[in-house]
Symmetry: C2
């Protein structure tokens, strides 16, 4: 983390333009934006809950890989020079006592009202989508211009302190003859969810209707394609919901924070 | 961590015998005991300091690789069935306001006086000593039956909250024609300090006299041998000292907790 790979000048310019557009009101899912640059999930909790959350992440590293932790009150990250975490995410969710109470596009007022928020940036499976596409694997939600489908599962994470909750997964339909490639390619990125947790058989994960995701949009599954499931950085939001955390802010699923770090930095990490 | 590799029945029997001997009074460094089983550094802090410490570990993973975290008051670990962290370490150090105030062999009374201690088990470079020896590399402190030499360095860790401190390193003299092997073999174990942080030139790490380690014992360096330095799990103790933590318990350097997990479990992790 102290010696993070540097991106090219061009890539940095593109990512800054993307963050500026977001700060100025862009309000859509970020999949496919600034390709090759690391996107991150965000979750902020009061200082009093920060240890429980960091421990939850440590105990569930496949779903909650920590990329950076910003100490109480901060809104800057070593992963993105000049970025402001209060404005540079397209859409935020606001949580009270485990319930979603609001969606907003600017979180500065909330940061002022809650000066002790600790912010966690968590890896996102978007990181291995560029290598998947480079290997000739269609990433359906990018092709179709929608949000990735995400599902709560029947698998419980290992609890930590007052936090417990289900594993959330993202799903990409993959042609049967490309599943092995998709496993191998994503497996090279253990720091951003890595290889799939489940291939096919959604009902074994407790997913009764694949066309109705809990977060994001449904996508086409063509004949000959298998639904492949990866651990997802929305897992912390499921823990917020289940554990009744008094207050939290997260990104809205699919609406990520885009960093200055190339996806390649996490390969083999 | 949830699917930890299982050791053989024989290895488990050997490690239980070792822990029982320790519980019954064995009071020496543990290098070479129960070969092939993971040994761990321990550090316990009050609940109120636990977030800062877990964040310090997250920001300095090479020196502070977290193997398990035991929540406030606990003294059992998923890494060793039936073990008691209050008695199954040969020697403990007791810290007050950053100063070493006592060394003891049974910590039960302290656990009772401080019911909110959070305990961290941290990886130890002993894990790659068995593979080093299997590759024909002499591990001097095992051969000579003493403690590994450890040194504070001039390299600062990345701070976290109220915690700051120097990187501590362990040193093994390695014949010049074996240094590359030692790098490659230890590099296969990133979860337990991994490859060396420095090879030769101790003065560049701020070590003025290699024959006077800050922790452990000095070892012979034969002609043709290079001192090779690995990040060390005593690094948290340096942070305790520098940051004036009000109360802490640690293992005494070299006097480790021996788990039920084979060293091989951490290979490539």
């Amino acid at each position: 983390m102290t010696n993070l790979m540097k991106a090219s000048q061009q890539a940095i310019a593109a990512v800054r333009e993307a963050r500026l557009a977001i700060r100025n009101g862009f309000d859509k899912p970020t999949a496919g934006m600034a390709p090759g640059m690391t996107q991150a999930n965000m979750i902020c909790l009061p200082r009093e809950w920060a240890f429980d959350f960091l421990l939850y992440a440590q105990r569930n590293p496949q779903s909650c890989p920590v990329l950076d932790v910003i100490e109480a009150g901060g809104h800057e990250t070593v992963l993105a020079e000049g970025a402001d975490l209060r404005t540079d995410i397209p859409r935020y969710r606001v949580w009270e006592r485990g319930e979603l109470v609001d969606e907003i596009t600017d979180a500065r007022a909330l940061w002022q009202q809650h000066p002790d928020l600790v912010t966690f940036l968590i890896g996102c499976s978007f990181t291995f989508e560029t290598p998947l596409r480079e290997a000739g694997i269609d990433v359906r939600h990018i092709t179709d211009g929608c949000n990735v489908p995400m599902y709560k599962t029947n698998r419980l994470c290992r609890p930590a302190g007052r936090l417990e909750g289900e594993l959330v997964v993202s799903m990409r339909p993959i042609p049967a003859d490309k599943v092995a490639d998709a496993v191998i390619i994503s497996g090279r990125f253990p720091a951003v969810h890595g290889a799939p947790v489940h291939v096919g058989e959604p009902h074994l994960l407790g997913i009764s209707d694949i066309s109705r995701p809990d977060f994001g949009d449904p996508v086409r599954i063509e004949p000959g394609e298998i639904p492949v499931f990866w651990a997802c950085g929305v897992t912390p939001q499921a823990a917020i919901m289940k554990s009744g955390v008094p207050f939290a802010i997260s990104h809205a699923p699919g609406h990520m924070f885009i960093t200055d770090v190339p996806d390649a930095a996490w390969q083999g990490a």
